[in-house]
């Protein structure tokens, strides 16, 4: 990227070489934080507009053009709110919990390739790292629920733990099915493989099954409806974040939306070719990769919102039955089929 190189040169002229590294790291971190905040804000707005559309309402449309500044106003409101807490809460863990949730989702955001050259950290175990990071996020929810000293919060946290641990398995296995084709966990190499056709085409039937399982499990992993047992308003108040207010609540809220973005981004990268354009129509303009990546991701985000406003909530036992009696066996069989297809060379190559 020319811009990044010129920024690099400018810094080298300004500062000694040792400090430049740190400044660049800080700048990259700042960029990602900004992206994080902006994404979070506008995903909330998108969710509200989509919800309104599905319910034949108009939704927020007063603050700014078409309500574009509505979530800004909400963020300001949340910032200025008093931070209430309970006297009998375990203060240390109560304050720690939101950071767990938000730091893990920020770490996961760091390794996505936005275009061929625009990637903060191309770690060689990319996909596995994402799964590892997402398994830590649940600890924040468990801690928050327990330390609030509130029975609704505790029940919400327990449900969240059961749900996330179960559905993590499906996410891992469905991604593993796709790794059989790519032969690599590195995100940039996964996209490289897809230059001969997106993986959902290359792997045809098992890939489509894996994609469906991944989207179901991903929705459950982010604790969204129809799997929002964790914060089922009608039974649990607000679930694990009942006792949180102001910015601490906003952290949980923001992390939930960023996690939704991450799940959609993984799906876009693994199944739909990441920043690759359809049929290579804009191959000569590399920076358009950002556009394609975001377009694919937002279509998948929209799909998840569609789920949310279409399906009724599941009961806990239905939730566990779905995972352990249906998704997991289908997934295991699917991996074997995929292995056979790759072994016999039956993948579609464009």
């Amino acid at each position: 990227m020319d811009i990044i190189l010129s920024i690099h040169d400018w810094f080298l002229g300004l500062l000694p070489a040792q400090i430049t590294g740190f400044t660049k790291m800080a700048l990259i971190a700042l960029t990602y934080l900004t992206l994080f905040a902006v994404l979070g804000l506008y995903l909330v707005l998108l969710e509200r507009r989509v919800a309104a559309w599905f319910q034949l309402r108009i939704g927020p449309n007063r603050v700014g053009f078409q309500g574009l500044l509505q979530t800004m106003a909400d963020a300001l409101k949340l910032l200025s709110k008093e931070l209430t807490g309970t006297v009998k809460a375990d203060k240390f863990l109560y304050n720690l919990a939101p950071y767990f949730v938000i730091v893990t989702s920020l770490m996961a955001l760091g390794i996505f390739p936005f275009t061929q050259n625009l990637q903060a950290y191309d770690i060689n175990i990319g996909l596995f790292f994402l799964i590892a990071i997402s398994s830590i996020g649940v600890i924040g929810v468990l801690l928050g629920g327990w330390s609030s000293n509130n029975k609704y919060a505790l029940i919400g946290a327990m449900r969240s733990g059961v749900q996330t641990i179960s559905y993590e398995l499906s996410i891992g296995l469905s991604l593993l099915t796709m790794v059989l084709i790519t032969g690599s966990l590195q995100l940039s190499e996964i996209i490289e493989v897809q230059k001969n056709g997106w993986l959902i085409l290359q792997g045809h039937i098992p890939a489509v099954i894996a994609f469906m399982i991944y989207m179901i499990a991903g929705t459950a992993e982010t604790n969204r409806a129809p799997f929002d047992m964790v914060e089922a308003e009608s039974e649990l108040g607000a679930g694990f974040h009942t006792e949180y207010s102001g910015m601490k609540f906003a952290y949980f809220f923001l992390a939930e939306f960023i996690n939704m973005f991450i799940i959609a981004a993984i799906a876009a990268t693994v199944f739909f070719g990441g920043w690759l354009s359809p049929f290579g129509i804009t191959e000569s303009i590399p920076w358009l990769g950002v556009f394609w990546f975001l377009l694919k991701t937002f279509i998948l985000v929209f799909l998840m919102m569609w789920f949310r406003w279409t399906f009724p909530r599941l009961r806990v036992d239905q939730l566990l039955t779905l995972e352990w009696k249906y998704l997991l066996p289908i997934n295991l069989a699917n991996i074997v089929i995929m292995a056979l297809i790759v072994w016999l060379g039956l993948t579609l190559q464009l």
Binding site: K88, A89, D90, F92, L93, L96, I123, N124, I125, F128, F129, I131, A132, I133, S135, I136, V138, I139, L142, L143, W146, S147, N149, L154, A157, M158, G161, V162, I165, S166, E168, L169, G183, S184, L185, V316, D317, L320, T321, W324
Partner: protein, 180 residues
Amino acid sequence: MLRSVVYLLFVLIGIAGIYFLADYNFLAAIQLTVYAGGVVVLIIFSVLLVHHIEMQLEVANRKKQLLTGLLCFAGLAVFLTTIYSHPFDVAGKTVTTTTAQIGERLLDYGPGGFILPFEVISVLLLAAMIGAIIIAKGEKKIKNKQPHKSPEPDEEVSLETEQEIQLDRILNEKSTVETE
């Protein structure tokens, strides 16, 4: 009690950080999934089940605290002096181990391959998994034999056993990952 679990979690994440620094990414991610994401979550679950937030743990008396502090300090001092006095060899080149290399070595039956331990552990884990399922199912049968008046308790029981199976499976799953 939960705080100590969180401190343990920080230690485990720190160890994962050391693996990352050593450029051994695969092991670091395993460390994060298995220990931080799995074992610690299980420990948190058990704490949630047995410990209430208002329960105060017994605080040891001052003498014992002092003794523990001194012992820890002495251990740290010995450790640091050893580390700083030991002449370490600086490795000439760094090698990044990829997942493909690990996999090939694991299924290699030539010299230096790990196929035999891998298979033995797989069989052991399979046996453990079947055992767990049988134990969980056996309980269900006994409970079903009892005459019940309302359907609700039965449902609860089946749910519990299901969760038990799940927990066992998760445990097994984790140990599989661990050994791999």
